[in-house]
Amino acid sequence: MARVVVNVALKPEILDPQGRAVQGALGRLGLTGVSDVRQGKQFIIDLEGELEGDRAELMEKLAGELLSNPVIEDFALTVEN
């Protein structure tokens, strides 16, 4: 069994209002020195069998086309086979 973890985050140049709101809340709750917060998404995908070959290529492609929007987001994909 393989587990694929895809982390998606807004590109650095895109304003992240949610991250900014969280940053404000952290400060109000007493956490000092918070210089920035970016909020992202994590997908945890469990697959039967090993992820390799065509299936690995398709997974990578779908991480860029479905799980993230390349116009505003970056993704990082890791596989635990």
């Binding site: 304003l15 209002p17 479905l66 799980l67 929007n69 116009v71 505003i72």
Partner: protein
């Protein structure tokens, strides 16, 4: 026979009935299209209405772009089929890469619902030819993720090619870069608009009737083409 304008209903669409009504008021025949449709029922143009297609899961419009009817619309739009995407429809057009950029959460984090003043910047699209350049209109705006974002280079290109269809006037309601409220593709057949012209077509139910020209514009271009 009057022009047939399709209105797509996705699971979670809200404004499909109002879009169909606006089309009828403009003098065309609205044709209901279902997200699972494998053909476009001979429509001459398509409206992608507002709402929350597929619950806005993943990203607004991200799942709608893979709907069977959308693969047909994307293919035809690339060769000239007129498409107007309103609100969620605009988000779907950006996710489908028929229009550049993306729509992100309002910079102030709140959902807004206001009567918004706009300036029509381009009358060179199939959906805005009945306006006068620089004309100011008021139509409803209601969104949570309506902030238009794109790279500086893309924004420069949109402005220099006269592809910014409308801008917000007076205030920027959602943090859209350079006050962009709507844009078109290069050919001018695909237009995305965050505010809702279909809610401003009758004095009884809208703040104005300023939305009507979007629908009469397309009707004239279709009649002129046949």
């Amino acid at each position: 026979m009057s022009a047939r304008i399709g209105v797509v209903t996705f699971p979670g669409s809200l404004d499909d009935a109002d879009a169909a009504r606006a089309i009828r008021i403009a003098g065309a025949t609205p044709v209901a299209l279902w997200h699972g449709d494998a053909n476009l029922h001979d429509v001459d143009a398509v409206v992608l209405p507002g709402g929350f297609s597929y619950g806005d899961y993943l990203r607004c419009g991200a799942i709608a772009k893979f709907a069977p009817v959308m693969s047909l619309i994307i293919e035809k739009a690339q060769v000239g089929l007129p498409v107007l995407g309103i609100c969620n429809g605009f988000q779907i057009l950006c996710e489908s890469h028929l229009l550049p950029g993306a729509l992100t959460r309002n910079d102030h984090q709140h959902f807004i619902c206001v009567d918004q003043k706009l300036q029509i910047e381009s009358t060179e699209t199939l959906w805005t030819s009945d306006f006068v350049p620089g004309q100011q209109i008021v139509i409803p705006l209601k969104n949570g993720e309506g902030g238009y974002v794109a790279s500086e280079a893309t924004l420069d290109e949109l402005f220099s090619e006269n592809r910014v269809v409308a801008t917000y006037v007076g205030n920027n309601p959602n943090g859209s870069y350079r006050n962009v409220a709507g844009i078109s593709n290069k050919a001018g057949n695909v237009v995305g608009l965050m505010p809702h012209p279909e809610h401003a077509v009758e004095a009884l139910t809208g703040p104005t009737t300023d939305g009507i020209p979007f629908f009469t514009s397309i009707l004239k271009s279709l009649v002129g083409a046949t």
